[in-house]
């Protein structure tokens, strides 16, 4: 380790403080807005910390009383949970066999490359036919329809993650089980899937985050409380005539909570998932 001059040490700490402030200030402000009385938020000069902390907006948004702001919010929360859950399960069901196949039989790998190349497609290039198709099937404004469309985003990514995961499980272990007379399904159940459990968990978390974050298709394909997701509900609030900015901030905090918790808890797995792409290209 090189020795550092006091000036350099001071410089490092100053930069660290600056970075922490840059990262934290907007997030802290979102939370402070959510617990500040409306009058404080409209005050000039602005009150940076509320006179009286007010958590009532959380109760307001999470209440399910008819025709309240809470009813719209809780239904969108439920829709987001349902859609993210269904799309993630379906994506894993497609990704596990496909990822294993590509990992063990590189000859079919080009088809996965093609699937992954679709990442370049802007969603607007698929939106019109998807809209017409969903409308034809009666799946517009429907959680199943939106979950199906989300597979176009989730499945390529999870398959690629699963494939990298299977790559790190030695074939010899599987081969040994098969020599002992286990069939393919049995080998998977006893050997492969338990070993791949961490990768499956990482893939599932990424899939949930992607589905939770999606906005464009949800904006186009949903129109009311039956299918509107959280992202659309928040954009409605932000773009609408809501006069209480604290309410918008509260909705933001609640929507951010699940992915932020996933991000903090799964930090290591998420980063290795993100950077393995960087290493392998």
């Amino acid at each position: 380790m090189e020795r550092r001059s006091p000036a350099f040490t001071f410089f490092i700490y100053a930069c660290a403080l600056l970075l922490a402030a840059v990262i934290l200030a907007p997030i802290a402000w979102l939370f402070i807005m959510s617990i500040s009385p409306a009058a404080d938020l409209a005050a000039k000069p602005l009150r940076w910390w509320p006179q009286a902390v007010d958590f009532s907006r959380y109760g307001q948004l999470l209440s399910t009383a008819e025709n309240s702001a809470g009813a719209a919010f809780t239904s969108s929360l439920r829709n987001s949970l349902e859609i993210a859950g269904m799309a993630t399960l379906a994506a894993l069901a497609l990704a596990i066999p496909a990822g294993w196949a590509v990992s063990r039989t590189p000859a079919v790998g080009w088809s996965l490359s093609m699937v992954i190349a679709t990442y370049m497609l802007p969603p607007v290039a698929l939106a019109v036919p998807l809209y017409m198709g969903l409308s034809h099937l009666g799946l517009l404004n429907n959680v199943f329809g939106l979950a199906l469309v989300y597979l176009s985003i989730l499945a390529p990514f999870t398959t690629w993650l699963m494939k990298s995961g299977f790559d790190s499980i030695p074939r010899e272990i599987e081969a040994a089980a098969m020599i002992d007379g286990a069939g393919l399904l049995q080998t998977w159940r006893i050997i492969t899937l338990p070993l791949a459990a961490p990768v499956m968990a990482t893939s599932a978390l990424f899939a949930v985050l992607l589905a939770w974050d999606e906005f464009f298709y949800a904006l186009l394909f949903t129109s009311d409380q039956r299918a509107k997701t959280l992202t659309v509900a928040i954009a409605d609030l932000a773009g609408g005539r809501v006069s209480d900015y604290g309410l918008i901030a509260t909705a933001g905090v609640l929507a951010a909570l699940p992915p932020v918790l996933i991000g903090l808890v799964m930090q290591r797995a998420l980063i290795s998932g993100l950077t393995s792409g960087g290493v392998k290209g």
Binding site: P26, P97, A101, P123, V124, L184, A238, Q267
Partner: protein, 294 residues
């Protein structure tokens, strides 16, 4: 087990994924290509074949060229800023100081914040009457009167870029940090013994390790910035006076606001082609960089 059976079995296992991908990506893409040669409306019958009329009228429209410039500005400036700030943050986080682990954990926060929440948050910060930015700048006496940051064509795009950078530079930082930690200690030590200054050390010793992962981050971020829709839609809807209208917003307006599915489709394919050319050019660059570094 024979090779052909292995391959057949692999295809069978791939089949569900491929079927779904054809349904939600392949078919819509082909259909978009078909639509782009018609004057179809969003609702109603298929429309008539009009050849390449949609393409010529879209490409020659001043809206398109202006939007292309806006998109390019947004993508180039945000991605460049994210890369520079991200690498600087990674170099900092690679130093030893108290609280480093906490700061590193905090970096995940902007990345994990949903895009729409991020856009809403910054919209509130930029609010012309009650926003925190106006309040802070006035209280610091940097501006005299509140400004409408998202409401003026001169500042709206810059305000969007700041919001986008804040969300995305931490990801670049985390990728760069992971790469920095792969630089062997004895190499940096040796360069110190050889008397290399900090800049030479960064340029010749550290940068080669960063180049590969950073190129991948650069490619992915550029493609995403070029396709950008969410953050702009929530913050400005492409306004004011179309000063923040990017290509995806333009396609949305054409196909869904004006319900012109045919010309919207042709525009979407032009965007797709641009992104593809960009990606292929980048991929060649990545291969070169990765080859050079290894």
């Amino acid at each position: 087990m024979s090779g052909t059976w292995m391959t057949t079995r692999a295809w069978l296992l791939m089949l569900p994924l491929l079927v779904v991908m054809v349904a939600v990506i392949g078919w819509p893409l082909v259909d978009t290509i078909g639509l782009s040669f018609t004057d179809a409306k969003l609702v109603g019958t298929g429309g008539d074949f009009v050849g390449i009329d949609n393409y010529t009228s879209m490409l020659s429209s001043p809206n398109f060229s202006r939007t292309l410039v806006t998109t390019t500005l947004f993508a180039v400036i945000s991605v460049a800023a994210e890369m520079v700030i991200g690498v600087l943050a990674a170099l900092l986080l690679n130093q030893e100081f108290k609280g480093r682990a906490i700061l590193r954990a905090l970096m995940i926060l902007p990345w994990a914040l949903p895009t729409v929440v991020n856009a809403t948050l910054w919209r509130l910060i930029y609010n012309p009457e009650y926003g925190a930015l106006n309040a802070a700048l006035t209280q610091l006496h940097l501006i005299d009167a509140y400004r409408s940051w998202l409401g003026e064509p001169g500042t709206a795009l810059a305000a969007l870029i700041v919001a986008d950078c804040w969300k995305n530079f931490p990801l670049v930082a985390l990728i760069a940090l992971a790469a920095l930690q792969a630089v062997p200690r004895d190499i940096t030590a040796a360069s110190l013994v050889d008397g290399a200054g900090p800049f030479n050390r960064f340029r010749f010793v550290i940068l080669p390790y960063l180049a590969g992962p950073l190129m991948v981050a650069l490619v992915l971020r550029t493609i995403e910035a070029f396709k950008v829709f969410d953050i702009i839609w929530v913050m400005t809807r492409g306004g004011p006076a179309n000063s923040t209208r990017t290509l995806s917003i333009l396609v949305y307006q054409e196909a869904f606001s004006f319900q012109r599915a045919g010309s919207g489709a042709s525009l979407a394919l032009i965007v797709t082609l641009l992104v593809t050319v960009l990606a292929v050019a980048y991929a060649a660059l990545v291969r070169k960089t990765a080859g050079g570094a290894a």
